[in-house]
């Protein structure tokens, strides 16, 4: 196998120093990175194992009422955290709709944010892929692309970001805390992932060696707790990535929408915040008409990147459904089939 160095730094500072060298990659739980290495799609020379760095595995409530989640918090721990379930229920539902229990027990928050696309040509080293090998071309463009992007793509890359978790997070204005050789800084999650443009290999705004240390959820998001939903259309009932997913959160003033948050997954190279749709909803009556109009607006700039035009119609319908469900109220307990349209009610019969 490809030889690489394995380094287990004792401190964050040591980690940045190692990881800033070319050819390095951070290793968290490895559920994504090791798969890529086995197939040859990633061939780092140096793995910097951050999984034992101290202090990154806590979920803390902040003085302002927000929440700070350490980058090494396991997906399962985050999903089942009582505070998260109560105040940011869509975060929990999104997590539980992803992967499998075993994977969620291992996978970390930081790894989930930075997981790579599931574009099959990216995984297949015999295929041309600009994201994996800059300038080599994009074999997905005229290939098997029914699940590829319909928003924000370019001729250079039509891949999507696969994370479920990121969809409600981006809708909840999550902030990503970074530390690196150049010091600490913050970016909005919405600005963490880059759209492909002419440089799809540049997937995020992280500088070399920069480490995600935490994600912060501002307290305002908790105001949506009573009316929020994450829905995921997938091709089997569990253990599948989203064809399209949607987060909808509402704050209501009687029959009028005071605040609206809408985000989509599986449609672009980043979790897609639908700000124009939110603007159209705010101040409007919480009605099917408003929802349909918002859905139109959210996908106004969408274009098929191949045989995936159906995803545009699907995304519109999913936004309408998520808004309707959000209006109806957040389920009191996690659904039997998280994020599935087939178990809209908590405790609904597993057999539908």
């Amino acid at each position: 196998m490809n030889r690489f160095d394995y380094i287990r730094p004792a401190s964050a500072a040591e980690a940045f120093a190692e990881a800033a060298r070319p050819g390095s990659a951070y290793l968290a739980a490895g559920t994504n990175l090791l798969d890529l290495m086995k197939g040859g799609a990633a061939r780092p020379d140096r793995l910097v194992d951050i999984s034992r760095l101290p202090g990154l595995d806590r979920i803390e409530t902040l003085a302002d009422g927000g929440v700070r989640i350490g980058a090494l918090v396991r997906n399962a721990d985050l999903a089942y955290d009582a505070g998260i379930q109560r105040r940011f229920p869509a975060v929990s539902e999104a997590l539980l709709s992803g992967a499998s229990p075993q994977l969620r027990n291992a996978a970390t928050l930081g790894g989930n944010l930075l997981q790579r696309t599931r574009c099959p040509y990216f995984y297949d080293v015999a295929s041309a892929c600009n994201r994996r090998t800059p300038g080599s071309g994009c074999d997905a463009l005229h290939g098997e692309n029914r699940l590829h992007a319909v928003l924000g793509w370019s001729e250079h890359c039509i891949a999507t970001h696969p994370s479920d978790l990121c969809v409600p997070l981006v809708g909840l204005d999550a902030v990503v805390e970074l530390e690196g050789p150049g010091g600490a800084r913050e970016v909005q999650l919405e600005a963490l992932h880059c759209l492909p443009g002419a440089t799809p290999e540049r997937e995020t705004v992280l500088a070399p060696g920069e480490l995600i240390v935490a994600v912060r959820l501002p307290p305002q998001g908790a105001g949506l707790a009573a009316h929020s939903r994450y829905l995921k259309v997938r091709e089997r009932t569990s253990f599948a990535f989203a064809v399209v997913s949607a987060f909808a959160g509402l704050e209501l003033d009687g029959g009028t929408i005071r605040t609206a948050r809408v985000a989509l997954g599986g449609v672009a190279a980043r979790p897609w915040r639908a700000r124009t749709a939110e603007a159209a909803l705010e101040g409007a009556p919480a009605s099917p008409d408003s929802f349909a109009r918002a859905a139109e607006i959210a996908l106004a700039d969408a274009h098929p990147s191949g045989e995936n035009g159906f995803k545009i119609a699907l995304a519109r319908r999913l936004i309408v459904r998520a808004l309707k469900d959000a209006l109806a109220g957040t389920p009191e307990a996690p659904a039997a089939l998280p994020a599935s349209p087939f178990a809209p009610h908590p405790g609904a019969d597993h057999a539908a």
């Binding site: 997938r234 089997r236 539908a352």
Partner: protein
């Protein structure tokens, strides 16, 4: 999966002390404790690891391999390429027997499909072999890949499947269509599907000298494969020993020899050390078979009352550029419904893929998928309930031949299944039913059908001095439960409890148990075991009858009954003696009986023999989002005598879930430009998960068959796939009004 709890066992007859009993698997504990050894669990001393380098193009030739780089990698022992591949005693481009295919074993630099082996790297560790294979950095001269109907080469095949006719006609088709009031046409395509057994194909090959070979490998046809390996390696068949106690699934893909395994065996001989090779998941998408794509068209002529006047099933079936295995889909229409005229015909299509092969219900699955959709469309066109339509066109005798059925409890399957499902009152029109959440609900059904092939098989039964028995046959347990069901049959013939019977199986030096395929293994190997047991009992009775000291003395012509380890005089059961006593007194350490699969050829010609069933499906479809969930599956099957209802139910469940997978999930996604399979992994080659199968139920309809074979056993392994695919598609149509024309059904088909 919350499978419905098994119904009480009572309804079918108990034929003796053992069969009919729902025994749990005799190998169950070994399996759940991880002590059941599969091929790749073997680690003989001095083991080397082999890895194939595989082609990434579909057609062309390899122009360069950096063998020096691979060999320079620490741990790499040897690299085999067409330049140094040791000779074989058989030309791999010549078919070897009925189940033998042309295979790629580095005979030249040609590339005929993606994932074809183009070199074999052997190393001290698996890691070194994998890296060595990567370092070969192969270069190609590529030609355009032929991947579809428009660029593949069409031809008229000599046969479909394994030697079945490519063109079968009964009656006057033109007259049938002329007599029709209406003609209903249905087009269906089915994709390439891969067996994806959990256990990848693997082998541990050890040579003793140059002419004795031991193979640990998952294998569905032990003696047939042993003979074939002997030919490839130019040694006597008895010098080859295949050990295959367990298979982690075969589904047809482990019955046929393949290139990578032959190369590993060659390497072991050349390097004089044991060699292990296990394919990676991705490498299974090429050299070890798959279900080939089909493009099917059905035309049904219908009279004013809804009777079929003519049935034309046409299929184009894909195969590789160099070998023929054509999914015999059209044949599914030959035996299912009454029609005065039937034509089933297949056209071949050569593509740059690995050669397809038999995959669970080959032909029956994809053919039934299309036929049952066509039947539903016909019922629709006649304004009839789909069950009523099927009953109207019920085949009382085998279509075409007019032969009577050896048994056919299909009507009972229809009625039992319909009752359990609650079919009565189903609205005729689509889009009539919704659940409390607004989901569209649809009900559909399909007829399940599978023939009853038998294979030659032999067995040996030894009654031992302590009154226990040893029974032996080279049987195959690929998860279906042969270790248990075959032992039950043998124990019954021997008048013993299964615990008193030691069963040796899964090794090629035992009597030939034939192929575990065609759903015929229990019948074939079971008959051989039954006959061997009866032979041993007869010999024992002879000993006792001739012994004046035995209470059975003189029983000769009257006969004996074997029960609970004793022989009883048939006319006076009070007179009996235990097996152990008989042997002890006559001074024998054992009595050995032999038997073979034997059935009355005249009966086999005179009667038409099939397992039958009816599958009912309920689906829910989100009206806005197009997502489908199969909320209920009920199958009712009649398959003659049931040896072990627990195992049989599992086969039906597995078959029906496979059908669900066919209907909604499975498909290889081939890049049409390169022929590369873009989802060669279990994440993206989708099979259902538990949450996709909330409720599946199998009803065992009693059926007695006096003609199929002396035990009355039919097959259960594949029938569950048939019927189910169509039932689900028809339920989707009932829910949504959309008649699909391709499998799997996708979200965009229903939006």
């Amino acid at each position: 999966m919350p499978l419905d709890s098994p119904a009480p066992i009572a309804p079918y007859p108990r034929h003796g002390s053992n069969s009919g009993q729902p025994l749990t698997r005799r190998d169950g504990e070994l399996k759940v404790t991880g002590r059941a050894t599969y091929a790749a669990d073997n680690h003989p001393a001095d083991l080397l690891y082999a890895v194939t380098a595989v082609s990434s193009i579909a057609r062309g030739r390899v122009t360069a391999l950096d063998v020096a780089a691979a060999k320079a990698h620490p741990g790499v022992v040897e690299v085999f390429t067409p330049a140094n591949r040791p000779p074989l005693a058989h030309d791999p481009d010549v078919k070897l027997g009925m189940f033998g295919f042309r295979i790629e074993v580095l005979q030249d630099d040609g590339v005929r499909y993606v994932n074809q082996p183009i070199a074999l790297v052997v190393a001290e560790t698996l890691e070194a072999a994998v890296e060595g294979a990567a370092l070969l950095n192969q270069q190609y001269e590529a030609q355009p890949a032929r991947t579809g109907l428009d660029d593949g080469e069409r031809y008229a095949p000599a046969a479909v499947g394994v030697g079945a006719p490519a063109h079968t006609a009964y009656g006057d088709l033109d007259a049938g269509f002329a007599a029709a009031d209406q003609i209903v046409e249905t087009d269906i395509t089915t994709p390439a599907q891969f067996h994806n057994a959990m256990e990848p194909h693997s082998v541990v090959a050890q040579w003793d000298g140059d002419d004795h070979l031991t193979l640990d490998m998952g294998n569905q046809a032990l003696v047939m494969s042993r003979d074939a390996y002997a030919v490839y390696f130019g040694i006597p068949a008895q010098n080859v020993l295949i050990r295959s106690p367990f298979l982690g699934g075969g589904f047809g893909s482990k019955a046929i020899l393949n290139g990578p395994q032959i190369l590993a065996i060659l390497a072991a001989r050349q390097l004089k050390r044991p060699v292990k090779l296990a394919l990676s998941r991705a490498q299974m998408y090429g050299p070890v078979g798959h279900r080939g794509r089909t493009w099917q068209r059905l035309r049904l002529g219908l009279d004013g009352e809804g009777r079929i006047t003519a049935l034309h099933h046409q299929s184009t079936a894909a195969t590789s550029s160099f070998e023929d295995f054509l999914e015999p889909a059209a044949s599914a229409s030959l035996h299912a419904y009454a029609s005065p005229a039937i034509l089933a015909e297949t056209q071949g299509l050569r593509l740059d893929t690995g050669t397809p092969g038999p995959m669970r219900a080959p032909g029956e699955a994809s053919g039934s998928a299309a036929l049952e959709v066509a039947i539903d469309a016909a019922a629709d066109a006649c304004g009839m309930d789909p069950l009523e339509f099927r009953l109207l066109n019920y085949a009382e005798t085998e279509p075409g031949t007019g032969r009577p059925y050896s048994s056919k409890a299909l009507r009972e399957c229809y009625s039992e299944g319909a009752k359990r499902f609650g079919w009565a009152g189903r609205p005729l029109q689509p889009r009539q039913m919704r659940d409390e959440n607004g989901m569209l609900v649809g009900w559909g059904m399909g007829t399940a059908l599978f023939p009853c092939p038998h294979f030659p098989a032999e067995a040996r039964a030894t009654l031992r001095a302590d009154g226990t028995a040893l029974v032996e046959t080279a049987g195959v347990d690929m998860g279906q439960g042969a270790w248990t069901a075959l032992a039950q049959i043998a124990a019954e013939a021997l008048g013993l409890d299964p615990e008193q019977v030691e069963f040796r199986s899964g090794v090629s030096d035992l009597p030939d148990a034939g192929v575990a395929g065609g759903s015929g293994h229990t019948a074939s190997a079971g008959l051989a075991l039954h006959n061997a047991g009866e032979d041993a009992i007869a010999r024992l009775a002879e000993l006792a009858g001739a012994d004046p000291a035995s209470p059975l003395f003189g029983a000769g012509n009257i006969g004996v009954v074997a029960r609970a380890g004793r022989l009883h005089r048939r006319d006076d059961e009070g007179r009996s003696e235990s097996y152990a006593d008989i042997l002890a007194r006559t001074g024998k350490s054992m009595v050995v009986g032999t038997g073979r699969m034997a059935r009355d050829d005249a009966a086999a010609q005179a009667w038409a023999m099939y397992s039958n069933g009816a599958v009912f499906a309920e689906v829910k479809v989100d009206p806005d989002l197009g997502v489908v969930r199969v909320t209920r599956l009920v199958g009712a099957f009649a398959a003659g005598r049931i040896i072990n209802p627990r195992l049989v139910r599992s086969q039906y469940y597995g078959g029906m879930i496979w059908g669900l997978s066919f209907a909604l999930h499975e498909a290889a996604q081939t890049d049409r430009r390169t022929g590369r399979i873009m989802n060669a992994d279990l994440s993206e080659y989708r099979v259902p998960v538990n949450a996709d199968v909330p409720s599946v139920e199998a009803i065992l309809v009693p059926e007695e068959d006096r003609y199929v074979n002396p035990l009355g056993i039919k097959g259960v392994g594949e029938i569950g796939v048939t019927g189910t695919v169509g039932a689900i598609a028809n339920a989707v149509r009932h829910a949504t009004g959309v008649r699909v024309s391709r499998f799997p059904i996708r979200i965009e088909d229903l939006l």
